[in-house]
Symmetry: C2
Subunit: 396 residues, 2 copies
């Protein structure tokens, strides 16, 4: 039988860079392609003890069905952290535990988007979010990202040009893939523009804790008095991604609808992983673990940038992130980073070409993304040296 | 700001029986309303050891990102079980690990359904599946369930009357909520009808292993040579529901698309819960655990049926299931089971009125569902005695 798939799901193309991810796990390759956190940051011994204890001593709590909105003490613990550390949360807000930040974006999209509605995204942006919006047959409209974040004039004109803009999706802090951070001024302006136009902002912040120098720009959610910002957070980069624990804070009405959407999806996030996150927050040193991750990535980023300064031709520009796990590189106009990636693959170095992160993935793109979170120092240096040679040869 | 939700998500109404579920967890109530398995069947000590071991000894496997289709050895172990025990799986089939059987239904719906498409459902049927189809703005068309399963003539006429029938959703074995099992003859007829009309069957089988006498009617998937059946299974009733581990087997094309849908939803099912299921299947006694659950539910069902025989008025009819965890009761025509539930709630006994399981939830329904899996024998007997008195009074 020939299956006719839904229109919305027919919109997502298979990845053009499948070959890159196929070899990215092969240890003979130097992979600067991933987005995984370093396993050195996983507090596995502590998590092992927590899981053992709950399963042995509290089988009903850890193995029976739970409530869809999430384990209440975990919700309270996350709310407390958000209140105390980020100044996030009003009496009109509520919080749902989700199975990774990605699920928060998907549930919110399902609750808000009719087919054909417009989602404004940063360009470049996170492929998982772009494909999520595509999977609801939304129309994506890109706004370019500058060193201090979204181009706000462009945002305003894109809103004026398009009916039915329902969502503005942004990763304001240590953006994936650009590594850039939106300035406080732009955050405030973005909020005003969204409010004036009756548009929900999804503020995706998986990397916010990974600040190298300890500085944090206030989140957009922290000045959201009107309940138009859905804040999506995650434990994937500060605890462990394989647990699939994230959270969303937004106005009660939206969170309530997301609970209904989650109920018909995975019913609830597994209990044991919620309990692991809860117990680690309450009785172990999450802040210490975050500090460890920050130091590690600051160091690795430094190693990569130093190698790039040494080996890259002057014509190739790159961002110098203050946190997170990505660097964005741009060749002179007219070049296509796919050509660079093909040459590098022959030399067993892989990374992700920039077109992957664009609204129109077919269009040639002269930028590409590098990741430094998982390779050791030596392989980072070696990979950048090889990449530098390829870039020098190709751009000569 | 006033949020305008998507049309599809506006279709799901809040549950009219919220009050019932609110008190169902209150120990002063006798709850025959749930659908939870008995915690006595959770092998928590073994699962505790497994979790402890993997997290301590293999942090990368148990805490790093995994692949969307699921942990390969678990997929192979489940495929083997399906092949050896249910004769399920052809070379054109594939298997995806999902975060509970419900997620399988949701992913398949998203891949197949455009808004307004028709899904044929048994009536009564599982509320979680009905709401899932509603959440994609599908049109639900009900076909009545007889003692030996769906009325096939009615099915054929409903297909003839409706364009765009994309899915037939069935729980053929120990159905929720009716407790009935579809005969082999009807399964074959259903398959033929679906094939002739180019319709995908979702065969949802969370209760199949819970056969009281060991007998099993072959699954529809076991004679699916054409790849039109998506088989959804779950570890929720044979291991533990809080783990949220299920699986779907279907033709490669459909499973491939479901992988894309899962990628933008929860990315993958958590690694530690997948590892717990895998290790339990491979190195512990899953069949022994299933046997334990079967004996327990056979006993509890027997206790409930005996009490019903004793206390219910003759005018109230009920199914006598050969497995699973539900009994379906029907009052004479003209009665509304909501009235019975209101009276019983005053006496601190709760169950779910039948309208909950119908396409039109607003229409009065003279049936209701009873569950026997979680209460102890004494409370089952006491609950049925009280329910019997209310029924006798109301139907006199």
């Amino acid at each position: 039988m020939n299956i006719t798939f839904s229109e919305k799901m027919s919109k997502i193309k298979g990845s053009a860079i499948r070959e890159i991810f196929k070899v990215a796990g092969d240890p003979s390759y130097i992979s600067l392609a991933g987005g995984n956190p370093s396993p050195d940051t996983f507090p596995n011994v502590e998590l092992s003890k927590i899981a053992e204890k709950y399963l042995a001593e509290n089988p009903v709590l850890s193995l029976q069905y739970g409530v869809t909105e999430g384990y209440m003490p975990l919700r309270e613990a996350v709310k407390n952290r958000l209140r105390n550390r980020e100044n996030i949360g009003t009496e009109n807000d509520d919080l749902i535990i989700v199975s990774g930040g990605q699920q928060g974006i998907e549930l919110c999209s399902k609750c808000l988007l009719n087919e054909g509605d417009v989602v404004i995204v940063e360009e470049p942006s996170f492929i998982g979010a772009l494909n999520c919006f595509r999977s609801f047959n939304a129309k994506l409209v890109g706004v370019s990202v500058e060193e201090d974040g979204m181009n706000i004039e462009e945002l305003e004109s894109k809103i004026a040009e398009n009916d039915n803009v329902k969502i503005i999706y942004t990763i304001p802090t240590f953006q994936n893939p650009s590594g850039n951070t939106m300035s406080l001024e732009k955050r405030k302006k973005l909020y005003e523009v969204a409010l004036k136009n009756n548009i929900i902002i999804i503020e995706d912040n998986p990397y916010g804790e990974l600040t190298f120098d300890g500085e944090k720009v206030p989140t957009i959610k922290s000045f959201d008095t009107e309940g138009i910002v859905l804040y999506a957070g995650s434990f994937s980069k500060v605890l462990a991604p394989g647990m699939r624990i994230g959270f969303c804070m937004g106005c009660k009405e939206l969170i309530g609808k997301m609970v209904v959407a989650k109920q018909v999806s995975d019913v609830h996030t597994p209990m044991i992983t919620q309990l692991m996150a809860y117990e680690f927050i309450e009785n172990f040193d999450l802040d210490g673990n975050i500090e460890k991750a920050r130091m590690l990535y600051a160091h690795k980023c430094d190693v990569m940038i130093k190698a790039m300064d040494k080996h890259f031709p002057d014509t190739v520009k790159y961002t110098k992130p203050k946190g997170g796990i990505f660097i964005w590189c741009t060749l002179p106009e007219g070049f296509d980073s796919i050509d660079v990636s093909k040459e590098c693959m022959k030399e067993k170095v892989v990374f992700v070409p920039g077109s992957t992160f664009m609204v129109d993935m077919e269009k040639p793109c002269n930028s590409f993304r590098l990741n430094y979170s998982t390779m050791d120092d030596e392989r980072i240096e070696k990979g950048i040296e090889i990449l530098g040679k390829v870039l020098t040869k190709l751009t000569k």
